[in-house]
Amino acid sequence: MGIISGLPIEKIPIYLEKVPGGAIMMTGVNSILNEAKASSLWYMLFGLACCAIEMMATGASRYDFDRLGMIFRATPRQTDLMIVAGTLTLKMAPRVKLLYDQMPEPKYVIAMGGCTVYGGPFYHDSYSVLKGVDKIIPVDIHVAGCPPRPESLMNGCIQLQNLIRTERLGHDRDRPGLRHITPRQVPGMPPLNGGLIRPDQIPILR
């Protein structure tokens, strides 16, 4: 094993030994865990603007996210990946942060389209758009485009899978500058913790 530990993680081979009645597989624990994580990225069914249309097209049969093992889930509790697809307004920002906080670890974020990367067409002369979702949640992959074509988005997902394959058990949160960000409060944005809808305070829902 001394030889293997010097290899890059993604290069650790998988040994398969056939025995009567089945097979024995031997590999590093990182390889098998990463492979499992990378090939079943369930993403949150969640769209904010026109990028969401492109995301739906990618999920539908012509481009087909299922080929990457990606299935949409309608709840953050069952998802591994959040594709922030569309313009994120200041009013929506705390809600997105709340959804992100509800996702179980390990969790990943793809910022899809110019708006989520840096504000996009709303960078100039806009008072209500958050200029980059990486101000409030850590982003793993930025996909450029306005909106990105399905090929771009799929490429982003494949890049994310490659990123996941380099993770090491117990160290997968230490990519510098990626995992630990301090959410920034932007002028005019509602408080990130609180200021959300309280159903018990809305007369019609009470």
């Binding site: 100039h124 008072y127 209500s128």
Partner: protein, 154 residues
């Protein structure tokens, strides 16, 4: 009915109200602020006018001191349309609410309040509708400024 006929009818009902033609908008009648509510009530309740649909309400900002409020009404029965225009002061503009006459005036007026800062008296629930509730200022005013705004380079 044409706008001119509708205007004539309203002038008969309200001889004391000073209606003006709007040169910028052939569908609109300019109404004084104090008579907006009673004219709107007439539009709603008079069976010969029967404006059963409030299309939308909005504002147009003309700094330094004019703020034009507009409300479009439509009658599905007679298929005629009329707009009422009220010229407001830009400082602290206020109008009576129409939320008890047309249900959709509720949200329309919240939007006008949110983005232009017109206060509607008698509104059942006058809160901001688009911007966060603690937002300061009225974004669709021409002189609105916000720290988030990065000016587009010329």
């Amino acid at each position: 009915m044409k706008v001119a006929e509708l205007g004539e009818k309203l002038r008969q009902h309200f001889p004391e109200v000073a209606f003006h033609e709007d040169l910028e908008n052939p569908q609109a009648l300019i109404v004084p602020e104090s008579d907006y509510r009673q004219v709107a009530e007439r539009l709603r309740r008079d069976p010969e006018l029967d404006f059963d649909y409030l299309e939308f309400q909005t504002c147009c900002d003309h700094p330094p001191n004019r703020l034009d409020f507009l409300a479009y009404f439509y009658s599905y029965q007679y298929r005629h349309r009329l707009a009422l225009k009220v010229v407001l002061e830009r400082g602290l503009p206020s109008l009576p609410s129409l939320a008890d006459l047309w249900a959709n005036a509720d949200w329309n007026e919240r939007e006008v309040f949110d983005l232009f800062g017109v206060v509607f008296h008698g509104h059942p629930d006058l809160r901001r509708i688009m911007m966060p509730e603690d937002w300061e200022g009225y974004p669709l005013r021409k002189d609105y400024l916000h720290p988030n705004v990065v000016k587009r380079p010329d």
